[in-house]
Amino acid sequence: MVVDAAATVGIDIPVYCYHQALGPLGACRICLVEIEKMPKLMTACTTAATDGMVVHTQSQAAEKGRRGILEFLLINHPLDCPICDKGGECFLQDYVFQYGAGQARFEEAKIQRHKEYPVSPYILVDQERCVLCQRCVRFMGEYVGEEELLMDGRGVHTVITNVPGIPLTSPFSGNVIDLCPVGALLSEPYHYRARPWNIEREDTYCSQCPVGCSSSVTGRDGQVVRLEGRPTPGQWGWLCDHGRFTYDFGAHPTRLTEARLDGEPVTVGRAAQVLGQRLAAVVREHGPDAVAVLTGGSHTVEDHYALRRFADEVLGGSRAGLVKPVEADLPLALLGTFAELDQSDTVLLLGTDPYESAPVVHLALRENVRRRGLVVKALGDRHLLRDTLAGEEWVVEPGGMAAALAAATAGVSEHPDARLAAEGLAPADESLVRLGQALMEPGALTVLWDGREQDLAPALVALARARGEHPTRVLPTFGPRNWLAAARVGIPTDYETSRRILMDAADGRIQVLLLWGADPVRDFPDGDLAARALERCPEVYFGGVFPPDGAELLAGVLPTAAWAEEAGTYVNMEGRLQTGRGAASAPGQARPTRNILQAVARAYGTPLRKLDEWDPYEGTVDDRLVLPPLEGSVRPVSPPPAAESGFRLISGLEVALTHDPSEVAARTKEDRPARMHPADLADLGLLTGSGPVELSSGDRSFRVGVRGDPRIPRGRVFVPRGLRGVPINRLGGIAVAVRAVEEVASR
């Protein structure tokens, strides 16, 4: 289009309705230009640029046309810029200032409409300010595929609104606030909170899931008050609402703001001093093996670097590991990128529904399907496709994904590794052969995987080798958000390392366990082991932002600075380093990890030198981790667990539920996190389609709110991982008993 061609040579043509992700519409007419050999003014957003075309953006005719449109837009637009949230960052203000007439000629009455009309708990519509560019309506209806905003009325009485009585529920709804070029769609939590001239607005990356969406954080008076999407080359700048509206987590009442020793508040300096002295004494007496460090993968790369050097240099080679909520390890050699996803011919959703686990990736998939016909396949223990993402899916027995994938590969490929992985498995049936054929298609394959089922790692390696020259990439949708930071600095990220550390702690071989942002009791797949470790290890210290499960067992707590409170580097799910800046200050005594560890190191007697001279980007290529080659042999995949009677437990990761505690995002937080097929709920007597149930296995049980979801196969209970008060990792097996109970005792 002419408008894009002009932009490439630095000529700015104003637009409202046009957005590259949404395509041309031609509604607002602000982009009128004069094109030679055309009889009338043309809209630059709907006219394709052609060779030899001569376009005038500043001719008398073009300027009059543009000025006329701006005048039209203003006749029913209120003059309330001084109290408008968008005042100062509004394209109507900007363009009127740049191109508009100095004086208004319209002297009639303006139409009055709804102002501050809520269309969702997060979004207000000011219909008077709306210029009817339809960006929001088209984004929701066409791009996201959830038609929750619509145009009502006709002509000058047209307004943007929701379906009457039905608020927006899409997790992508917040993007319409960013898309709105004027002050019509407003963030309710940001409403009247700040003006553009008294805020800090800094580039950052969302901290709530491993996608790491580029965003802008707004800070005012030391507090984060807003998060917006930020377009970057190749990315539209979408956010999901779980990330967008969790920005206030740093000010949450449960945030750690003071240091504690044995439950008593102390200064951070005192706590660091005691910790340093205790570590020194333990290492002197028992050696470095008596101390171990576990990271939760939420702190920055710089923090992880400090942690790594602390373990190596101060503690003299203590062990370190990563606590993640899944049991499998991604062969890093297969780590893919979003750019590769955009080039892929086929995508496999492996156990994961990106709409839940990495929402913005769902949008990327949908765009690829719509724009270029990307083929989507899904293999899972529940239905992973949705109305907004079509494809073909295979639903297998719980715990049976690895066996299915290995058998499907071996059913089509003669590759020795494919055969080895499928050794001992039943041969692929017709359906799995079809899956194998789809996965062995030439061209590029990207797998989205949530890290469940340890045997999926060898099955994926076998698939990649069987595909040979055709690229096979894996994008891990599991958290923690910054787990690849551990990989960046050389902290082992595999399940086995952290399991051994916890075993040794549980067996009394570790005297001091240092948890840095790690919450093993809640997150570690073997929750019993983690609980034993915390109970039996003599001294457990915790540094982080929110207290972990079992906080009463801690010997000491050190509050650390959080995202947006300092500049720091994160590594997203494609292994890309992203440095965000700070826009707020750490509350209370919370301090950057590096400062705390340095204080501990000094008390220990071994200060860390030149900690700040390290460059996280050193040795990366295109800001991305350098991946190891695909090595090692493939092991046979275990057969799927035998089918059992009764309900079976399945799980997954949901950003909507596992994001940081937030008072803003709590407005829409689901309080019935578990899901079952509606018919199963009815069988349990939960005829309203939701309610509290008790899940039990052996002598373990817990209560959780459950709601109906036809995408969960019958006979299965889906419970998300990593939720406080929902100890799915302590139930043991996958066979569970489910019964309806009176009251909800969960969360």
């Binding site: 031609g26 009128l32 003014l41 006329g68």
Partner: protein, 431 residues
């Protein structure tokens, strides 16, 4: 003007009972279809229509045969859509054709569908035409029962299915792309072109959208040939046209005339204006067109002559205003119509019609200022050629021509602080 010995489009005026299948067949109905299927290859019909010089009767006057030949030739099934959303103020020709001679429309649609190789056709009928809808429903049922519609029409290899869809009362849905949006069940807003309907029309199929009257021309054209059609009208505007004459004439109604009739002849056919009054101005082609003052009454109605005179034939809705008409009130009423019928998609039409309506109401009420006339003309200039679809241009044509031809009358409203003709606008309440 050559006098007609009989009606061709308004055949029902000569032949009672032609609205039933029996009556239509008795008058030789469907023999055009039979001739087309038996004697013509589809492309030969396209050539015949091209040779006849038949032009679209919906308003734009685009050559029909040429439009058909633009259909994408990529093997996708095509569709014919008949625009029966006759909403142009002053125009009521399609309504009469539908209500009194429905089978001629159906026969014409079958010929057009055969010529364009369209297995399906759609009639989008104006929501207010409830009676016409019922008539067409019955006529389609009759034609289906008789084998004119359905699989293997009259035993040939040509199969055709016809669908009737009633609009919901929006003027904008007479614009072909908004019609297609509405037909598909969406909000009636015009579509971006390209792609043109000939490439991606209804449900994305290559589509021809034709006006009812255009289609009604086809049966006699097939039977009588291109030369017969060319005996009327002019070289560039041949054929017959149903003109809707309304306003201050004593016998308002539809008149089938050759395209070289003059406006004066039309007014006379309609009985002239009331005794003691003179024609003040005529809008020749529906309210979207500029008016022509009485001095231009001898202009022929062919497409070219009217453009040369400063107006357009449009849909053929000829509105006659005598000297009792307050031109300011007339303009205010017409512009209000466009304000109410603007779909709201594009800025200039949506906001500009609102602005002009308010100013015109004020002018008519004697509250105008001299600067208002320049403002109105400038607002009109900011709409004209800058709106998304033709509705924007349509909203200003009459007003601009009125100010140009009757500026003194506008000024009198302003200086006299009242309407010199004592006209009253009904419903001037802003809502």
């Amino acid at each position: 003007m050559k006098t007609l010995d009989r009606h061709y489009l308004l055949r029902h005026r000569d032949v009672p009972g032609i609205d039933t299948l029996q009556g239509y067949e008795a008058d030789g109905g469907y023999s055009g279809l039979k001739k087309a299927l038996a004697e013509f290859e589809p492309d030969a019909i396209v050539d015949l229509v091209k040779a006849s010089g038949l032009r679209g009767r919906g308003g734009a006057g685009f050559p029909t045969g040429l439009k058909w030949s633009f259909l994408a030739k990529d093997g996708r099934p095509r569709a014919l859509v008949v625009n029966a959303d006759e909403g142009e103020p002053g125009t009521f020709k399609d309504r009469e054709l539908i209500e009194h001679n429905p089978h001629q429309l159906i026969e014409g649609m079958l010929i057009a569908s055969y010529a364009t190789r369209s297995p399906e056709s759609f009639i989008y009928i104006r929501g207010e035409f409830l009676h016409g809808h019922e008539v067409l429903q019955r006529a389609i049922a009759e034609a289906t029962e008789r084998g004119y519609l359905g699989d293997r029409v009259l035993g040939t290899d040509f199969s055709h299915h016809m669908y009737l869809y009633r609009g919901a009362g929006a003027y904008i849905c007479g614009e072909e792309s908004a019609l297609l949006e509405s037909l598909e069940g969406r909000r009636g807003n015009p579509r971006l072109k390209p792609p043109f309907p000939a490439v991606a029309g209804v449900y994305g199929l290559p589509t021809v959208v034709n006006n009812v009257e255009t289609i009604a021309n086809l049966p006699p054209l097939i039977l009588n040939g291109a030369e017969w059609h060319r005996q009327w009208g002019t070289e560039k505007s041949p054929g017959l046209k149903v003109m809707s004459v309304s306003g201050h004439v004593t016998r308002p109604g539809n008149y089938e005339v050759p395209l070289d009739a003059t406006l004066r002849e039309l007014v006379e056919m309609a009985g002239g204006v009331r005794t003691g009054h003179q024609v003040k101005a005529v809008i020749p082609g529906g309210s979207s067109m500029p008016l022509l003052p009485a001095g231009q009454l001898d202009t022929p109605i062919d497409y070219e002559s009217l453009v040369q005179a400063g107006s357009m034939l449009g849909s053929g809705g000829c509105i006659v205003m005598d000297d009792s008409t307050c031109i300011v009130a007339a303009v205010a009423r017409v512009v209000r119509f466009y304000r109410d019928e603007s779909c709201g998609k594009c800025t200039p039409c949506r906001e500009g019609t609102y602005w002009m309506t308010d100013v015109l109401d004020r002018l008519e009420g004697g509250q105008g200022e001299l600067g208002d006339l320049d403002t109105l003309l400038d607002v009109a200039d900011n709409i004209n050629g800058k709106a998304f679809c033709p509705l924007g241009d349509a909203s200003v044509g009459f007003m601009v021509s009125a100010i140009r031809n009757f500026r003194d009358e506008f000024v009198e409203h302003i200086t006299g602080r009242t309407c010199p003709l004592g006209a009253r606008l009904y419903d001037t309440v802003n809502y």
